[in-house]
Symmetry: C2
Subunit: 248 residues, 2 copies
DNA sequence: CGACGTGTTGAAGGAGCTCAATCTAAGTGG
DNA sequence: CCACTTAGATTGAGCTCCTTCAACACGTCG
């Protein structure tokens, strides 16, 4: 955890521009944010539930997930994150972390001091709006997960999350939804879908048996995207990747 | 849907101040937002999934909920809202509504044009931050619901949602967590917890049998708050009602 | 009065869980 | 290079929490 580099924040600038057109001086302000970077190992904590917020974290490479624990120790994974995601913007404004963030793979993370995020939003309101927009999209994904977990059966849940992951990878130019490495263990996938790892295993095998996907360890090949999409009751509009209707 | 009144937006100003200290001119800007109000009947739609965003909606009185539908028609209720809540800030920034909002009881709603919300955030960045903060708290509640539905058993889920509702009522000065009218049918409560109405019914009766609550139609009397809190694995920190650690 | 929405109850069935064994691949140390 | 370990994936068998279906109770409202 060291080195103060200016150009590290490219992925953030790119993400924010996806949400809102930014002028050169605004982009510059984003890129000039002070930050320190760190290399994170798989399963290492980036944020711990209860932490007092001192900085926000941006994922520069690799994958991470958010988790909460129930009183009896059961784990719930409520989000998966990839390059360019602010894994906890909320720490910039809320007092304490209400959940943990953990690395899924080798990852690089940039830490940006809390007050600089707030200062950025105050000095450059358009950037503030872009970050707010980002939070709104996050919230939309949480709602879809509530639906996924509460009202879809096991097979559909798994198919849905596979669709979402591929779609998001593609959206940030990190691969194609037709073939990718899914970076979670079956136990983590279980915690992300409200199932057990045993049942996740059976459902993955069932999806393969039906010819929707082909698997080789964590490598997923989507043999029939339309069928997987149908099986997963997947409609990407909740990801708000299109910006139709968003002017100004 | 008519009448253009200035002082209608008091509940919004109060809510935003809860999240961030605002100066008189900032407050005035909030209160001066143009808006139209409407009386809404129970189960009437306030926003429909797929709607193109033209305005944001503020709940002035009564209760409402957000829902999404699965492909097979199953319903998921992902949030309950009360006085002062912006039931769809996301419409101000995102292009289309990714879910519906429906009235739970008789309600009064203020519609604020999309561009005025955006304009407010641009002209008064502190107000923009307050609205962003509001979205972050919303997202925190969604995460807790994901945990609630995915990793808690039926009795715990119901107890948890009863705790949350009472706590939030109290926070906005609309009652006490020890006794309130819970404005949902058992079927709606089922859709908010990922259960069936039959099982919700049995769990409510079990909570009463154990002496945690007393019921009379929708009226809930919390006989033993601490026990209910324990039974519901409830820890209110995710509501971010305290502002400890939040300076400036 | 009949119809409807909501709540309550019983009985039977099933989707997913639990427990436990086995398998595989990738280290790790000798 | 091989014995040993470990994390994760796979499989089977039995069980349970919750669902499904169906009936009935109750209050309200036309």
């Amino acid at each position: 955890m060291s080195t103060l580099i200016q150009s590290e924040l490219g992925p953030l600038a790119r993400k924010l521009q996806l949400w809102r057109a930014l002028e050169p001086p605004e982009l510059e302000a984003v890129l000039r944010l002070p930050c320190t970077t760190a290399a994170i190992r798989p399963s290492q904590y980036i944020v711990r539930e209860g932490d007092i917020a001192k900085h926000s974290c941006l994922l520069l490479s690799g994958f991470a997930f958010r988790q909460k624990l129930a009183g009896d120790g059961e784990r719930s994974i409520c989000a998966i994150h990839m390059k360019g995601d602010m894994v906890d913007l909320q720490n910039s404004l809320l007092g304490h972390a209400d959940h943990s963030v953990q690395a899924l793979t080798e990852a690089r993370v940039a830490f940006i001091p809390r007050e600089d995020i707030v200062g950025l939003a105050l000095a450059w309101p358009q950037v503030g709006l872009a970050m707010w927009h980002d939070t709104l999209v996050d919230a939309s994904i949480f709602r879809e997960w509530v639906l996924n977990i509460s009202r879809r059966d096991a097979l559909t849940r798994i198919a849905h999350i596979l669709c979402e992951f591929g779609m998001r990878l593609e959206a940030i130019g990190l691969g194609t939804r037709h073939s990718y490495v899914f970076p979670m263990t079956q136990e983590q996938l279980a915690d992300a879908t409200g199932l057990t790892s045993v049942h996740v295993n059976r459902m993955l095998m069932e999806l393969a048996r039906r010819g929707l996907i082909e698997r080789e360890f964590r490598q997923v090949r989507v043999a029939d995207w339309d069928a997987l999409r149908r099986a997963g009751d997947f409609d990407e509009s909740y990801l708000h990747l299109d910006r139709a209707g968003v002017e100004q």
